[in-house]
């Protein structure tokens, strides 16, 4: 869970900044000025030769999350920070796209979006106007494990924002007209997404790794066929079944205390009743050996998207910290093996990365990049070689210890904003983790032994069990990837819905 609310996207293809290929360490001292003194000992710039020695590390400051539960089961999550008069007011809902029924993929997403189309007698425009008056638009994020809906407002607008959110959560209108408009938007959005090579890759990857029948095996926003089949009755039924005090957390962070939040929560949600209960934890999918290489043909595409992956771990799994360390060394940092090879040594890509997305259930473990089309075969070979390399060239202390230090020391910098705190609190609720999860994560990273990290690297990142998905020019892929012997090449046409797996 180290990545907090910025959970690794399976397609986080963009790398940061820039770096260079290996080269010997610098030459001996030399003063920068043209008239350097003749005696090297007198070089006043010699201090530049070595990195400065850092002082003692500051105490690790992690945010404090507090929680209360109302009589009706509603969770109230708070993290207080008072430097600026800002408050994040949000709700986390425990049912996400993993709760979509078969054939109705996209239902969760469509339900939450339709909630924002009208509530408590306000139509779409009036509801939006009310948020606009507070200087905000509500943000909604739906993922496989749930949904997060919230706004960041000036402290003086806290109660007004909560009043609006309460209406959206408790009294959605679900008017047929609003639903149909939203559904049409969703369908057109899918048409737009199907033009994006990244979306095609992600969608195909989920199907190949989890299988269409698995709760994590489809995109959150569904597919044209499945979204088209959803009715307003489905949406109402999803809401009735899944949204209620026992499946919802009110999340407030920033310039607010737990006492204040609980008082507000009682007023807004104290009398809320519903039969909704938490959805089941998605089962762990099997991890079969790779038998094929699946590709989505996009004729003439200048780059090929490469995703390799498999099921990883669930949040809280005993291997989570060691796996985070292993994937960081492999592809999680800019200076990782995969990125240094593909980008800085070969110049094949703008960036390559890898990470484990530990969800409520077992989430995906991925390595991905977008590479120049004409080096597709060579790049896939490098991916496989780097995966094999984890066994052949075990992770050294020089790789592991900086990764460990880097991950741990980056925590305080990740908790600067009230909306970031709100998203992190929401993730704790959606993944059903304890309030001290971040301290546990840090402890786990501190304790993972080199032997454990090497064990999980070999166990989870073996190339034989990594499924491979490519999006690119079909001729290039046939010619360059076919001969690599990685499995039978199987084309998936982008417009078609993947058939359910046997």
């Amino acid at each position: 869970m180290r990545r907090l609310f910025l959970a690794v996207s399976t397609l986080a293809l963009l790398a940061a900044g820039c770096r260079s290929a290996p080269q010997p360490t610098p030459e001996p001292n030399q003063a920068p000025a043209p008239e350097a003194p003749a005696t090297p000992a007198a070089d006043p710039e010699a201090f530049r030769d070595q990195p400065p020695t850092a002082g003692p590390s500051p105490e690790l400051v992690l945010p404090r999350f507090e929680q209360a539960v109302l009589d009706n089961g509603l969770t109230v999550l708070v993290s207080t920070r008072k430097e600026l008069p800002l408050v994040y007011v949000g709700t986390a809902f425990a049912a996400g796209s993993a709760s979509d029924p078969q054939g109705k993929w996209g239902l969760a997403d469509l339900t939450y979006k339709t909630m924002l189309e009208g509530a408590a007698g306000k139509d779409t425009l009036a509801l939006d106007q009310a948020f606009q008056n507070l200087g905000v638009s509500p943000s909604l994020g739906v993922s496989s494990d749930g949904a997060i809906l919230g706004v960041r407002v000036l402290q003086r607008n806290t109660e007004a924002a909560l009043a609006l959110l309460t209406q959206v959560v408790r009294q959605p209108t679900f008017a047929p007209k609003d639903f149909e408009r939203r559904q049409k938007l969703q369908l057109a959005e899918l048409v737009r997404a199907l033009g994006s090579p990244g979306f095609l890759a992600q969608r195909t990857f989920l199907d190949v790794v989890f299988g269409a029948a698995h709760p994590y095996g489809h995109p959150t926003n569904g597919l044209p066929e499945t979204v088209g089949s959803v009715t307003v009755r489905d949406v109402k039924a999803f809401y009735e079944k899944n949204v209620g005090p026992r499946t919802t957390a009110l999340v407030m962070t920033g310039d607010i205390t737990l006492e204040q939040a609980v008082a507000l929560a009682k007023k807004s949600f104290g009398d809320w009743k519903s039969k909704a209960v938490l959805p089941p934890v998605p089962p762990a999918p099997p991890t079969p050996a790779r038998g094929q290489v699946v590709f989505v043909p996009k004729a003439g595409l200048d780059q090929t998207i490469v995703i390799m992956g498999r099921p990883g771990v669930a949040a809280g799994h005993g291997d989570e910290s060691a796996l985070d360390l292993a994937t960081t060394v492999f592809g999680g940092f800019f200076g990782s093996r995969l990125n240094m090879n593909l980008r800085e040594d070969k110049g094949y890509s703008y960036g390559a990365n890898s990470g484990s997305d530990a969800r409520l259930g077992v989430g995906p473990l991925t390595a991905s990049s977008s590479v120049r089309a004409d080096v597709t075969g060579a790049a896939v070979t490098e991916f496989v070689n780097e995966l094999k390399g984890l066994r052949e060239r075990p992770i050294t202390p020089r790789e592991l210890e900086p990764a460990r230090e880097g991950l741990i020391r980056a925590f305080p910098g990740s908790f600067e904003s009230v909306e970031g705190l709100g998203a992190s609190a929401s993730e704790l609720f959606l993944r059903r983790r304890p309030l001290d999860e971040y301290a546990r994560t840090v402890a786990g990273l501190e304790k993972a032994t080199p032997a454990e990290v090497q064990r999980v690297a070999e166990a989870y990142l073996s190339p034989d069990a990594m499924q491979i998905v490519l999006v690119g020019d079909p001729e290039v892929i046939q010619q360059q990837v076919g001969p690599l012997g990685l499995g039978k090449l199987v084309a998936r046409e982008p417009a078609k819905t993947p058939a359910p797996k046997p």
């Binding site: 293809l13 940061a16 900044g17 820039c18 770096r19 260079s20 290929a21 290996p22 610098p26 920068p32 000025a33 530049r48 850092a54 500051p58 400051v61 430097e83 600026l84 008069p85 425009l125 939006d128 948020f131 606009q132 008056n133 200087g135 638009s137 407002v153 000036l154 149909e180 408009r181 049409k184 369908l187 959005e189 048409v191 737009r192 199907l194 033009g195 090579p197 044209p224 595409l301 200048d302 780059q303 940092f333 800019f334 200076g335 980008r343 110049g347 094949y348 890509s349 703008y350 977008s370 900086p402 230090e405 020391r409 305080p412 910098g413 990740s414 600067e416 904003s417 009230v418 417009a495």
Partner: protein, 467 residues
């Protein structure tokens, strides 16, 4: 460009002196929007901005070089950005594999370098005990980049940047269309012609000599501003800055090119055959006043009224009422030399881009006639105030405190301009927005681009869309 005159006056080799700035007091209720800071210059001309914020044990180091794609030579488009990549490739005392890796390994966050038309910046947020390391890294590439430069590094980064371009332009929906749009708005040799990332041909043509000349001219301490924001001890920070930056030799501050503003005298229509995107797109654009100058804030408010939220004018008409558009947006893209106001809409399947233009024009015409309501203006103001305050939550990164100080310093010579920036929005009235729409967004002085997916494109059509 009075910003640069002010900055130059500070950089004339005077002994380091500090200006304790008493920013103009904000109006009641906005006290949190001031950033107390100190500004001084080293004898070599490097400007320094210091702002303490001990909320978390982290410190942001942020360097702006006052050079962007605007300052490139013809035939060398994309050079400022390509050069930015070279700044991560190692320098005399920092081995090639070290810059980013070292920052990652000590827990750095918000770590990157970016180039736009007007400037180039480099930033990282590090644990507070690592300030010296961040300064060491930044100072070494400012002073000693060329000692470690070679042909192979340049060749590799040319390939990396070409991949970045393919990822962001050639294989991204509407990437090429947007480039054509900018090229039409700013005909060559205007320095805003095309994309900051440049053309493939120009990227290939760059030489090591170009890199050297660019560094010597633009990357001098006198053409840079260092901001340190966060949990630091002021005296110690000043001593460290002195140690790492004061002996770096400098060239005089370079003069930026004088470029005459572009003015359109007719409507320019571009029809683009879209290969990646699957739905028709329309972009309209007008030249508008530069960032922070008269009219710029009005344009921001207008963009908000037209395109932000479901109840905005464009969304309401094109998406909610008529169901013709999939998405709409309107915004002022504020730039140093000349800004651009754009209105964009993506069509629903089966809707033509011409139908969108007709509806967009109807909304714009209404705005030119009657202007926005006072309520719409107030909503926009509250939104901007909330956003500005929210930006101050982070010490570094995109839009954080260090970036805010730098941006105002770069464009206005006044790092503490935030309160006055908000006053620009306070002064916006419905009449001024209406007049702006009428006078600046004329239908006869604009570029309109249609990106229409080609029927032969491999992209899919919806299989079962409901009528």
């Amino acid at each position: 460009m009075k910003a640069f005159i002010a900055a130059t006056a500070l950089a004339l080799g005077l002994p380091a002196f500090a200006q304790q700035h008493e920013a103009k007091p904000p109006r009641p209720g906005r006290e949190a929007l001031t950033i107390p800071y100190e500004k001084y210059a080293l004898p070599n001309g490097l400007e320094v901005l210091l702002a303490r914020d001990p909320k978390l044990p982290v410190v942001a180091v942020n360097v702006w070089y006052h050079v962007g794609a605007y300052d490139e030579q013809p035939g060398r488009t994309g050079f400022a950005h390509l050069f930015e990549h070279m700044m991560f490739q190692g320098s005399k005392h920092v081995p090639d594999d070290v810059h980013i890796a070292l920052l990652e390994q000590l827990g750095g966050t918000d770590l990157n370098g970016t180039t736009n038309f007007d400037r180039t910046n480099y930033f990282e947020t590090v644990p507070s005990n690592q300030l010296a390391t961040a300064l060491w890294l930044e100072s070494d590439r400012m002073g000693f980049l060329l000692d470690a430069l070679d042909e192979k590094k340049l060749r590799t980064q040319q390939e990396v940047v070409k991949n970045e371009r393919r990822q962001g332009v050639e294989t991204r929906p509407y990437g090429i269309a947007q480039e054509k749009f900018w090229q039409t708005l700013f005909p060559a040799p205007h320095p805003y012609h095309g994309k900051v990332i440049g053309s493939m041909a120009d990227l290939d043509a760059a030489t090591v000599e170009d890199v050297k000349a660019f560094f010597r001219k633009w990357y001098a301490p006198a053409n840079a501003t260092l901001a340190v924001v966060g949990d630091f001890e002021p005296q110690q920070a000043r001593a460290l800055i002195e140690k790492y930056f004061a002996t770096l030799p400098s060239n005089p501050k370079p003069t930026r090119p004088e470029v005459a503003p572009v003015k359109l005298t007719e409507e320019k229509l571009v029809r683009h055959d879209e290969k990646i995107g699957t739905l028709p797109l329309v972009i309209m654009g007008w030249h508008t006043p530069p960032y922070l100058s008269e009219g710029d804030a009005i344009a921001d408010v207008l963009g908000n009224v037209l395109g932000t939220g479901k109840s905005s004018r464009l969304y309401q008409r094109l998406v909610v009422d008529k169901g013709l558009a999939q998405s709409v947006s309107a915004s002022q893209q504020s730039l140093g030399a000349q800004s651009v106001f754009t209105v964009e809409a993506v069509a629903r399947p089966g809707v033509s881009s011409d139908a969108l233009v007709k509806e967009l024009d109807a909304v714009l015409e209404e705005m030119r006639r009657t202007g926005p309501t006072p309520a719409e203006i107030n909503q926009a103001r509250t939104r901007f105030e909330t956003q500005m305050l929210a930006g101050l939550q982070s010490v570094g990164g995109f839009g954080g405190k260090a970036d805010t100080l730098q941006s105002y310093n770069h464009h206005q010579g006044d790092p503490g301009f935030l309160v006055r920036d908000l006053e620009r929005y306070d002064a916006v009235t419905p009449e001024r927005v209406r007049d702006f729409a009428r006078d600046m967004l004329k239908p006869t002085e604009r570029v309109v681009l249609h990106a229409v997916p080609s029927p032969t494109s491999p992209s899919p059509a919806p299989s079962k869309e409901k009528p």
